[in-house]
Amino acid sequence: MMDVFMFYIFSAISIVSALFVLFSVNPVKSVLWLVSVMVGVSGLFFTLSAPFVAMVQILVYAGAVVILFLFVVMIFDVNHEGKQIFSYGTFTSGLKVLFAGGFAGFLVFQIFFQMNRFGYLIPDKSAPQFEVRNLSKIMFTDYMLLFEVLGLLLLVIPIGTVALSRIKGGTHAK
């Protein structure tokens, strides 16, 4: 019974906060609602008995990525864009809404009508799959190459970020 409540509470938190991210005029408020989305999704990971992934989610997203967003928003003048937060153009806006709505409808259709193919899936609650020992065993054997490439990526990213932020002008500099 507790699980049921947890699922509904956390999914409500994440969806409502995502809507606030979408509709906030002030980008600082968007960033703060994004923290709430991350916490909600992390709670959903907890209900899926994946506590390690949930903690990594909070650490990396709420702790690092969102703080980075917040710093970047704070060094800008956020109020000079006005109340009009969506891009205008009636035809293209209608097209975009139509596309997004069609995509959502397709997703819901697929989820409801493919459920009889996947409905028999019962999680094995006796053997915890997502414990850290199991995850690290897979990560350091099956995905060893991917892990190394990720390390290389994390070396390249700071260098690239520093190089990008030191660019002066470019070909069309004012």
Partner: protein, 106 residues
């Protein structure tokens, strides 16, 4: 039958992930502010992570969670580079509106 509808199963989690992904998609398509567009991309990545963990849980397969960890690492790197590009754009043009950059003339 009613308890099937209420007790969360695979479909419920997939539905939440789909809703989050669609909200992120609308944000990418419709918002003007570049930073909010980057945030919407993070939302979509979160929805995909939720799908991975859900299927990993229901198929009793730990690969879903491992892939999620990789996706989180790549998302952090992507946010860093994206924000560096935004900072550079703002330094050069003093503008955050995506419509300002649509002509791609430098």
């Amino acid at each position: 039958m009613l308890s099937d509808m209420i007790i969360p199963g695979l479909g419920h989690y997939l539905l939440v992930a789909g809703v989050l992904f669609t909200i992120g998609l609308v944000g990418v398509l419709m918002r003007k502010n570049i930073i909010v567009i980057l945030m919407s991309i993070e939302l979509m990545l979160n929805a995909v992570n939720l799908t991975f963990v859900t299927f990993g849980y229901y198929l009793n397969d730990a690969n879903g969670a491992v892939i999620t960890l990789f996706v989180i690492a790549v998302a952090a790197a992507e946010a860093a580079v994206g924000l560096a590009i935004v900072v550079t754009l703002f330094k050069n043009f003093n503008e955050l509106n995506i419509r300002f950059f649509e002509h791609l003339k430098g």
